[in-house]
Symmetry: C2
Subunit: 288 residues, 2 copies
């Protein structure tokens, strides 16, 4: 059920959310700088066209902050792409075979790698995909270097409140799905402390589209409220080289997940995506 108004609304929202998140994270940088000195980190926003990369339609913008005071590397991507899935790939995507592989996809994806080992890295992504079907998907998960029960509770409580406003079943289902999805199978360990993950939230009619879009927007807004709170709790924490070394080690596990298991990464790499945009999720420095 392709609907150009829906597409436009979704695409516009992802861009608005990107702007909001960029504003929030740059505010954190400024607040840090005003207390501790130094130059507040800023995002560089770079538009790209998929036509230039794979000859297929669509494009997006990467927003990346490097060497900030709080964020060592923090990328926020938005993109809107369409075209046809390869024969090999279309069987794996709902409604793509019925549609000669035709698809449209728009979304936002972010990963934050803080400098301080006590500020947890985080990931958030929401997307709207249309084949012969139409659905929303997304998720957010916290990936602390050192687990902190208060942060975990803060993060999960906020996501639960968000979910509960839309459907009493969501939090139970989607936090469980996050535990399953963000699982570093080859290490037999979780990637982090979870959050929510949802997919194939189908839009069979306009009312469902409105409901699912509203939920998807709230996941983004919730992220942009709660993660900054957690950052501000820890961004002045003191740490030493041992903590930093452990952070670099744990970032290795994060990189392994993204390169071996992450479905979004595979989706992007297999559909002629912007490799640099897709792999902006990788940590700035890693040790193995």
């Amino acid at each position: 059920m392709k609907n150009s108004i829906h597409q436009e609304k979704a695409q516009k929202w992802f861009k608005q959310l990107r702007d909001d998140i960029v504003f929030t994270m740059e505010s954190i940088e400024k607040d840090y700088a005003s207390k501790m000195g130094g130059t507040a980190g800023q995002y560089d926003i770079t538009p790209w066209s998929r036509m230039d990369i794979s000859g297929q339609p669509g494009g997006g913008e990467t927003a990346i902050m490097r060497d900030g005071l709080v964020f060592e590397k923090a990328g926020v991507n938005i993109s809107t792409v369409w075209g046809e899935f390869s024969e090999e790939f279309r069987d794996k995507i709902p409604g793509a075979s019925d549609n000669d592989g035709g698809f449209w996809a728009s979304g936002i994806s972010l990963v934050m790698h803080p400098r301080n080992p006590f500020v947890p890295p985080v990931h958030m992504n929401t997307r709207h995909i249309i084949t012969s079907k139409s659905w929303f998907g997304g998720g957010a998960d916290l990936n602390p270097i050192y687990k902190n029960d208060d942060d975990t509770k803060t993060f999960h409580d906020a996501l639960k409140t968000c979910c509960d406003q839309h459907d009493p079943e969501y939090y139970t289902q989607y936090s469980k799905w996050a535990d399953e999805y963000f699982w570093n199978a080859h290490r037999n360990e979780p990637r982090g402390v979870g959050g929510v993950f949802y997919d194939y939230l189908n839009n069979n009619d306009d009312a469902e589209w409105d409901k699912n879009f509203s939920f998807t927007k709230d996941v983004g807004k919730t992220f942009n409220e709660i993660y900054p709170q957690i950052v501000r709790v820890h961004m002045f924490d003191t740490y030493d080289k041992e903590h930093e070394d452990f952070m670099l080690f744990r970032r290795g596990r994060y990189a392994e997940f993204n390169l071996i298991h992450d479905r979004g990464t595979v989706f992007g790499l297999k559909t002629g995506g912007n490799v640099d945009a897709i792999l902006m999720s990788l940590p700035p420095r890693v040790t193995w």
Copy 2:
């Protein structure tokens, strides 16, 4: 064509080659130390049992040098494992379905990550696998940070000489296969400057086994002669932070290849291998 004498001979050779390589690389470390001072790097050899990891038979030894003067991280693994491939996996391995998935595999695998950006990283692996079929496979490829035509020629010439002693077709076939195999598809770029790659070198009778084993041994010996020569040419080269930063960046591409594309890595992770041994190939420090 399972043959316990063949299995024993192959397994013994891989261990002998490991000992030879450890000796060679530690000699390089000592020579460097005697000229420049510092403590020569040494390998730590650790036996492991697969029974402890996945409950399946087999095991091996990891030999890893960390923080050497010449080698920042250099791992050499040997392992011999057997059991049954999963239903999902056996269709992908020649002769495994005819054998209820039963397999035996023994091999050596190494990756060297030098400290000096002008000393090229290298990979070498040879293996003997038995299902209802029996074959050898292996390869070696050079992965310079800065391409150097002399080193590339030295490396390829030695492998060509080795190949030519066994079959006039080998070098042409196997260097081409290396170019195809060590291809970082998502980046549309080669991993390095190639070398040789061969697989499914079938042993249909004892004579073929002898021939293929002899070739496989020579690939290992050739590696252990030629790579040290290249290391010794460059290990005293001067470099600055810019060179080092570029090395850390290029190591990211190497890590991407291993985690996204490398068949050996997937084989290991899907067959209950020792994750730490498999991923010892990852560079010690990486930036993205």
